[in-house]
Symmetry: C2
Subunit: 118 residues, 2 copies
């Protein structure tokens, strides 16, 4: 039962699109990820996902619209909804999602990555 300092955890890795686990509660993981560039279009069949921007500016794209998220803003993507995060510049995100969640959802891609604890 230790506290987690988000800024300190963010110093521990620098690669993009590779989530790290920093907490678990109930059936979910709290993750941190650094992203830059375009992700792959995907959805999650059984999991809702929360994206909270800690630093930077994220363009969350859906098939019929898109949303810019600034630091201190979050969006929840319901299960089944196709989405693609795009980050023209580096963005630091906090993710909350069920432990079963794979980052690329229904797609296997070069960006598919297994999250590890840090």
């Amino acid at each position: 039962m230790e506290k987690v300092n988000l800024a300190q955890k963010l110093t521990l890795f620098n690669d993009h699109w590779h989530p790290r686990i920093v907490g678990e509660l109930n059936d979910s993981h709290v993750k941190l990820v650094k992203v830059q560039g375009e992700f792959v279009w995907h959805h999650h069949d059984h999991e809702d996902e929360l994206f909270l921007v800690l630093n930077g500016r994220l363009h969350m794209q859906f098939r019929d619209h898109a949303v810019w998220l600034e630091a201190g803003e979050f969006i929840i993507v319901p299960r089944g909804v196709e989405h693609r995060p795009v980050a023209p510049e580096e963005v630091h995100l906090l993710l909350l999602e069920p432990k079963s969640t794979l980052n690329t959802g229904n797609v296997m891609d070069e960006k598919t990555a297994v999250a590890e604890w840090i």
Copy 2:
């Protein structure tokens, strides 16, 4: 599927110890709460709870130790663990917990409050 700006939501209420719901995903709610003073000792039989400090400084007390949480830090209190949040000055928190969670857990108290959506 709208984004949520945490700072904007925090302008919508000013009372203490009364959580507001700002998001739902899977079986959980994302809540915001402003606290000041001492809460009641309690635990939750079936729910783990995440406390993320957005503004201010929270003293999370357990029966055998206590932790100061600053802005940008979170702690997860596992089910069954007695805890008491104390805030000498006002603190703004983001909470993540199962929808079934009552703020005072196993205790009915004057601070017991039902969270509403904002």
